[in-house]
Amino acid sequence: MINLQNINVSFRKGNTKSIFGKERQQVLKDVSMNVEEGDCVGIIGESGSGKSTLGCVICGLLKPDSGKVYVKKPISVVFQDYSTSVDPRFTVNDIIIESLTVRERRDGIKLNKDNEVYRLLELVGLGQEYILRYPHELSGGQLQRICIARAVALQPRIILFDEAISSLDAHTQVQVMDLLRQIKLKYSLTYVFITHDLTSVTYLCNKVLFLYNGQVVETCNIDGLRTIKNEYAKNLLNSIMDVPVK
């Protein structure tokens, strides 16, 4: 489904416009990863470790300096910052219809859009009364559900979540994670789940990838967490969970 080989990404350093601004900051170094159909891969790393950048590469929003990218289309994405994720001038209806239109064009079909919007809202646990609301009239959790609905509306093979639940409160996080689990089963999707929080990974994912300073330092299955060798990953595990790591 996803296959990345030796990805390198760098950005120009600083914001200063200097003619000598050739200095570049390497954000991803030699990153390789492989995701099979039906997987849920967690990408874990502290902030600034290049997780979002890796996400952009996977979504095709960023071309790497070097390396091979293969990602099965269609792919959809849910971002952390739900407040800028949707156009503030769009109603919930417009937001979901944008995805539906893209799907219509892709598959060359005609959808009953009203029905689809109802169905998707129901899927994410929102009632019909939300259809004509604007983003600022929704709470964070509701808005993130809309973002999930519009990601699903595309009928993608893969959905990428970039810290999609991190900025929700704990109670909502659990609800949304349950929702994501259901959706994954229902549509047999593949997930890439970017986060800095291990608990959500253990809850959802079957594979984990540790990113540190732009490098993949450890890849393992979820039940292999206890046998991790890498120092950084160990520390991370120890600090977050009470799992004794040898």
């Binding site: 095709g60 929003l61 994405v77 971002f79 944008e98 892709r106």
Partner: protein, 259 residues
């Protein structure tokens, strides 16, 4: 937005002034009591009366009627200026913000150069170069002002193109035209509109200034700046003639700036 407006009394009053002025200007023949060109030398410098609510000028023309007809060129010309500046600024800004790289560098350098000139003096220079004519005043204004808009559009394009909702559209492979016309332009035009309304005040002032200096609208066409110019000639004998156009220009300018 409308609620906010109704709370702000000054802005509302100013808006009503602008709106009323526009209406009166458009339907000038209905409101004006006299032909603005009708000369009646016997009746010059008439004081305020029922027949001539603002008196008559040095040629015996009804000042009120000339004021009312003068709204038309002022509004029309400033609108032309705004349309010209905004469209050029928009295109250049979009080009710079969209393609970045070399295109951006070139356009930005041009903008920097344009912005480094003192604008009033440049307008004079251009009018002097092209010849005295209203059209040239507009052209000069557009040449000087587009850079402001271009820079603002570019900044906004940069700001919005990395917003998540546009990234999402890109990611799911939506059309570039949808992103441009449904997401990007509506986001930008809101801020453009604010700047444009502020700027239309300046455009009116500019055109009046140039007409006053005899470089824009030519006598006997009624235009507030040009009328002020004519009044200036008889300032020592009949200073009252300056009041009406002067007050009108200031009121209009202030209304637009405040609202």
């Amino acid at each position: 937005m409308w609620k906010k407006l109704f709370k702000n009394k000054t802005a509302l009053i100013m808006l009503i002034i602008i709106f009323a002025t526009t209406i009166v200007g458009i339907f000038a023949p209905l409101f004006a009591s006299h032909d603005p060109y009708e000369i009646d030398v016997m009746n010059k410098f008439a004081v305020i009366s029922l027949e001539y609510p603002l008196g008559t000028d040095n040629l015996g023309r009804c000042i009120l009627s000339r004021m009312i007809y003068g709204i038309r060129p002022t509004l029309f010309l400033s609108l032309m200026t705004m349309i010209g500046t905004i469209s050029i600024g928009m295109v250049m800004g979009l080009l710079a913000g969209y393609f970045r790289g070399v295109v951006d560098e070139i356009i930005m350098r041009i903008i920097d150069v344009m912005l480094s000139f003192p604008s009033q003096i440049m307008i004079f220079a251009i009018v002097a170069l092209l010849g005295v004519d209203v059209r040239n005043v507009i052209i000069a204004n557009v040449i000087i002002k587009w850079a402001w808009y271009a820079r603002m559009v570019r900044t906004n394009v940069m700001k919005y193109r990395s917003k998540n909702f546009i990234l999402f559209s890109r990611c799911i492979g939506n059309r570039e035209s949808f992103i441009l016309f449904r997401h990007l332009l509506p986001s930008i035009s809101w801020e453009m509109a604010v700047l444009a309304t502020l700027d239309i005040g300046w455009a009116i002032l500019d055109i009046s200034t140039f007409s006053f200096l005899g470089l824009g609208v030519q006598a006997p066409t009624p235009e507030w700046g040009a009328m002020l110019n004519e009044a200036k000639n008889v300032m020592t004998t009949n200073p009252v003639q300056m009041i009406a156009p002067g007050v009108a220009i200031v009121t209009c300018f202030v209304s637009i700036l405040i609202s």
